[in-house]
Symmetry: C2
Amino acid sequence: MRICLLLFLLAARVASAQPASPLTAQQGNVKLTVALDAEGRPTYAVSYRQQSVIKPSRLGIKLAEGPGFDGPLTLLGSETKDVDETWQPVWGEVKSIRNHYQQLTVHLRQPQAPGRRLDMVFRVFADGVGFRYEFPQQPNLKYFVVADEVTEFGLTGNHKAFWIPGDYDTNEYPYTTSKLSEVNNAALVKASTAIAVREAPDAQAVQTPLMLKSADGLYINLHEAALLNYPAMQLHVDPQTYQLSARLVPDATGSKAYLHAPDHTPWRTIIVSDKATDILSSKLILNLNEPSKLTDTGWIKPMKFVGVWWEMQTGKSTWNYANRADTLTEAGQLIPHGRHGATTANVKRYIDFAAKNGIPGVLVEGWNVGWEDWFGNWKEDVFDFVTPYPDFNVQELQQYAAGKGVQMIMHNETSGSATDYERRLEPAYTFMNQHGYPAVKTGYVGRIVPRGEHHDGQWMVNHYTRVAETAARHRVMVDMHEPVRPTGLHRTYPNWLASEAGRGNEYNAFSDGNRPDHETILPFTRLMGGPMDYTPGIFKLRNYSADATRRVQTTLAKQLALYVTLYSPLQMAADLPENYEKEPAAFQFIKDVPVDWDDTRVLEAEPGEYVTIARQEKGKSNWFIGAITNEKGRATTLKLDFLEKGRKYMATVYADGDGADWQANPEAYNVTKTTVRAGAKLPLRLAPGGGAAVSIIAIP
Amino acid sequence: MRICLLLFLLAARVASAQPASPLTAQQGNVKLTVALDAEGRPTYAVSYRQQSVIKPSRLGIKLAEGPGFDGPLTLLGSETKDVDETWQPVWGEVKSIRNHYQQLTVHLRQPQAPGRRLDMVFRVFADGVGFRYEFPQQPNLKYFVVADEVTEFGLTGNHKAFWIPGDYDTNEYPYTTSKLSEVNNAALVKASTAIAVREAPDAQAVQTPLMLKSADGLYINLHEAALLNYPAMQLHVDPQTYQLSARLVPDATGSKAYLHAPDHTPWRTIIVSDKATDILSSKLILNLNEPSKLTDTGWIKPMKFVGVWWEMQTGKSTWNYANRADTLTEAGQLIPHGRHGATTANVKRYIDFAAKNGIPGVLVEGWNVGWEDWFGNWKEDVFDFVTPYPDFNVQELQQYAAGKGVQMIMHNETSGSATDYERRLEPAYTFMNQHGYPAVKTGYVGRIVPRGEHHDGQWMVNHYTRVAETAARHRVMVDMHEPVRPTGLHRTYPNWLASEAGRGNEYNAFSDGNRPDHETILPFTRLMGGPMDYTPGIFKLRNYSADATRRVQTTLAKQLALYVTLYSPLQMAADLPENYEKEPAAFQFIKDVPVDWDDTRVLEAEPGEYVTIARQEKGKSNWFIGAITNEKGRATTLKLDFLEKGRKYMATVYADGDGADWQANPEAYNVTKTTVRAGAKLPLRLAPGGGAAVSIIAIP
């Protein structure tokens, strides 16, 4: 009998120990150096065009028991390999992705007993570096607990940073743009009462993706890829040295991760360029994720949707059916207050609207019992995910939607009770299958159960993966709200189409809202990890709430542009049907804009200032452009050199109208049409807080 | 529409405020007094025959937020009622149980805002008192977190205590008999390395049921009843004042319980008598539990069983199939080591033995994949509960057992990973239904997942209830190992037949074992809350282990007697078939002894010394007696006045043989037969560490 001894293979691999001189790997302008420092501890450094990006910085893992990998280590050997491959995503911003890197693997060992071994694996791309810790199978490291990760990112100066607080439970803060030396989240965390759950014990900690810009114009993005079975990494900022240090979100006992060799951490990613547009074009994070685990993906269909949702956010109707769960009729029934949003009749109105306008999906929130008393009490048993309110007829709506060619999108709000959701997952997804729901929006508003766990800790990271896997078994697409921020896992789980995991348009409904620069920062931060269900498309930009101070801090045209600049294969047309019906000319863009693409060109970008992106519709020659700016107006001229040569196109420009301004006159827009060809120049004028959307349709 | 306002009803109930003089309730010799102390805090006291049992002692609940019920309270009113009812258990020690008590309800309110209300409900029985905290529905107390319970038990002297350490995760310690002033568990906890998980931060804390004996001969038992949705209560002992204080097992965050008014705590129980036998006969705890939640109980059948188990405990075979999970054949298969116990052939041997001897059930452990690497690493994913090892043929054994009229008992070891078990509950119980398993033995060996939770905390208490409820839906009987200790819930969930939750016979296999007094203490402690799956019936009392020092510290006859003295509707014949086949004369008692009873008489008892119990077989006139002693030999004469008058019986006495002694000659026994009638005297001689078993079969 032949026995497969992984150990033997590993031993052979590391036989040829190399000298202790620095190890290097390079791809294009990016160069990596790995060395042991004077105390024998591993360090790495990254440069871009001979310019230092990351100064020599420590690597290491502290274990809860016994000697870890945070002290001196002996170099056993190393090897490099070059990989150049191309793969096709199931859906995405481009139809084909090149994965081209040089890999350096460094084999290390504790010099003293028990002589545990650690491999550091680095992948150097033309636009950055990814590295992770790998724990090979070995006699003296089997199950182990990560007490801390000591990964450091030694930055070279007091860079400008686009950051949100390093919170264990939320990514929904507004971004702060400041020098690294000014990072302090305490006041913002305290003031952010619109965020349901906040836990940010370190005032100097920031969330990733962290976007940085150096004084000499280098753009640096720090994040992670393939976050599986490990807590999210946050970064502690040293305001004097500009050194960032990994901080892992703890579990209920204060430990960070429970691993079992052979095992590895997620990839730590450093994307760097002297062009901001390169950051947005980078496929480094996706490339560091594993290929799709799903073999049959034909059922996965990116889609637009409307929903019974914004009317609740703005107070026109409610998620709940009754005011109180503990006051019942004599027959033990809830007492309806009459303002419930998810009624059969109201949902039919949305279905009609979707059918009429070619919007494939209708999301309905507040359809199931439990909303009278769902949130804020750390309850474990809240929803059962299968019992509708008495005024929501599942069967009738299933038939009605099917008859109109519209698909219903399920809503599973867990209120953070992940244990209870896991108990009910199979019935919940079976219910979706039985009633024709191809997609589900999940939610985690509230403190997590198991109590003591956090949204971004290892246990919940594994929970989100379990949900995605369960959904895949049931052929259901997932859109997660309030999960850990994405790290490119949509490559591995292509049915996990989108996440919120950031400050969405909804904050305009119930808080001071999102500043005009917000959407120019999101692509450089939150969206680096994956698609965001931002819910754009608000047309009624003020006077939508009982609180007259509430307003969306963009122009209407900018709302249209977001369908292109904020990439997602699930895009909501978030406003009310009646608001869209008042502006059919503008709504035409939402009807036309696709959600899946063959190509993407980031034409212009500067974090916090502006973003202009052109995308080619999947399987077609049509292009769509979105251009947005912050609070400052902006004029630009785009060169349409990406169009097919010799072909004629009809360009429809949805632009801010004369005198448009997010504060004084957000609704003004105009629509103009012109024929264009490759190489044509397209001038755009963006109002303060404004934007422009362009459809460029190939003329047959 | 008429609206059911619970609030209104409560308000009406407390309208008639009473004077602030002490409130009392009494039943027989037991008298309760409730009063507010000088600081306005509620206190209670209990006396028995005018003798103080509990001195005036504080009551109270500390809340995590806002003012709780641990300070001064105002008396709003009180009322008493008398209840005398009789009910029939689905199975049990007796066929009918009288529930006779006087209830005193005391309505209290915080004197200051928010004026939260608390009800104290006391039930006074002839053999003790039960009381609980009730939180009525009210405007200013909805969801709340219990930070601590301040219930105190002021004992009147330095009583003798029979105790085990107050450990959050285990009840498997040997008992210590000491004065209250001598309670200190530190050394014992440290030394008890045979117990997988220990967490006993308070050296002065003891577990309940706690058995006490006062210097003037009063027997006092402290425990709780109906432990649902609340953590287990342990008791902190003040060695100077002899005051015991409630300590609730914390959750992962340090909180104790998450409640939602209207809600209540479990009952705190004080059983008292001047006769030790009364303690064992008490039905107070069962009476404080709610009636059966199951309406159809015909499928619940108490049963005896053998099992592929002791051969693993003693090292003859193994639970696992291979030595390592990480060393596989080239085809990715486990490499069998050839000593696996749960093989199809070996299980058939047990089925044959059971069929031949009329034993209804066969338990098989180690039948499912995962045992190579199941324990000790706080793993979350361990077993799937449905995948057998390749040498265990589920279908073949199902048919084989059915053909022989034998029922298979399922084994679900969770290794403490309750989250994973909950995910897999439905498939696991469906598997049992599909393959004809009427019962399951569950296990929780290991640290709990959710990490930070404890075996005896609120989350796990709810987990055990969920398992019992799931099993009931699937018509499966449950025998839980390593759960929280029972509190009479087998009344409410009669399919939850037994638990281990204590130091079973298995400790004789892998530790220094159980002292000769152990089984004389268990009925006064662990078994006060419910049946114990102790696994008696070991015939080969030494030289069963590779470690020659291991031995069972009883005689063989005492092992027989345990079938009567340690009540359980599930009783294992734990030894190997080959050991029973060598002693057919003794084994006859195990074949004959029932597991369900119409009546029970505790004839003699003294904790730590001896226990003699007679029980009448369910639906028959036959009686069975068990008599056991500690390390001291004992002679006694039983008066058979419980037999049916005028009826002739054949009594078979399984007694210690001449010269029997647990140390020198444990195997010596003899069997004698004699006819007896009501009122006959039956002399018994128990060897040191010995016992006697008697069957008294009605002659037709």
